[in-house]
Amino acid sequence: MSNDMQTNSGSPYFKKSHLKGLLIAPYLVFLILPLVQVIYLSFQSTLPRETIAAGDFTWINYLNIFESPTLTSAILNSMTYVGLNIVITLPLALPAAYAFSRFSFTGDKHLFLSFIACLITPPVVLVLPVFQLFASFDLINTTLSIALAHCLFNLPISIWVLESFISAVPRELDETAFIDGYSLPRFFIQILIPMITPGLAVAAFFCFMFSWIEVVFARILTVTNGKPISMAIYSLFGFRTDFGLIMAMTVLSLIPGLLLIYFVRNHIAKGVSVAARSSK
């Protein structure tokens, strides 16, 4: 990738970087400004307290979060179902993506389109029957139920991403491996997965993102227990709303995603690009 970029930047079309900075800087400021306000408020005491005047700088909002079992368990719940979702989605998506990439089989195009149809089905349309279905299996109020429901959109997205990555791997590699006596599972684990690690990272990032921010399923499937961050924040609204606390909670809800972006930052650029390349 770095090679591509250097040649890119050497081209006459990538020299006017100052001009581009002028274009990009206002946009980045526009993105960051609402969040700056959130961070600013999260360090303020927004309720009248005995020891701290309203508006003063304070850590109290963050301390309050860690003293509240509801809020800390909400953070844990969110991380659990997002993690579970990734663990369920990727092993199901990988063989399917491999099949779409390497084989033509009866109904493959229709099947792919129905996967896309699942991806574009609005959650709000399916909320009631999914609730009834999971209720009959006693899954309501569990993080597993949210993780399963989120497969509706995460599984098609992961298949789409992984299919492109696998298509970028030369077929000769499979054939050589099978001649060498590799079984299909062993080929997956020892050869294919190491080659498409960036693809798995990108798929995991998409799963994380869409699962972390989804609220329709997450709300309806947790009636009394297993509440995610988004719902815990909403329960903070009341007679005397502590905005500082809400803002602190919002800041904390951003941190896992930021860590993930930091770890997969190189793969994101490289990753989705392989997807684009293989489409040609």
Binding site: A99, L111, C118, P122, V215, A275
Partner: protein, 292 residues
Amino acid sequence: MGKVADNKAWFLVLPAVLMLTIVGVIPLITVFNSSFFDIFTEQSRFWVGTEWYIEILRSSRFAASFGRSLLFSAIILMIEIPLGIAIALALPKKGIAVPISLVVVSLPLLVPWNIIPIIWTGFLHTESGFLGQFLAGLGVDFNWKFNPVHTWSALILMDVWHWTSLVVLLCYSSLTTITGPYYQAAAIDGASRWQVFRYIELPKLNRVLMMAFLLRFMDSFMIYTEAFRFNAGGPHNATMFLAVDLGEDIAAFNYGPAAARSVIYFVLILTVTWAFNTALTQKSQKFTPVSG
């Protein structure tokens, strides 16, 4: 690269098919089935045929919500897709600026949907919000609670803030695959910046743009959480979108009408997606869902 014809590949897709059947197909069939009944409880339900459909499709309320959602989606797509492409083209391609700008661009995508309206109502607050204070300083009486035009602008601004990044990330990663020789050849031929975009960069973006379009269309057409939490469909139903209507039916336990509404929405989305896909495929002959 040719593909091997082998129906045993079905065994590889079977686990994914089973999962999507459970969380997607079965619930969808249930919804379809319920839409023909008047449901009081699980046990007492009465066949009403297509009554709900006729009632919904004939109501002026549905037509109005449909128009609003369509307009909202059209505005969102017209702003976010070109803006996303422009930002992706302008993002730095090397150095320390790359990770920094990628992280900043991704930030809004990581905020849970129902927190977005909280952030923005705070941001627009005339006394404490940065943007609210700024607008008040300019002498603009920005009243998103009661002025429909202002509510719409705020919702659109909020959505642009939240989702343009998705288009940017998809386009950016696709653009980084274009290697130097393409640009050098274009420079030798004396191609203008526009020609480089039109004949080199845009064809590359075809597939990711399809994805961006699908995701953005579905989410903006079915906007619920943001619109409902922001102003609950107000003022005077000015932001009563399709999904907000549906949310009210569900909240009122009108299962039959809610199911009929869901089926109608699903068909609407499939139709628009299919139409767009067909138009794009015919125009470019490039997008095939299964690459090969």
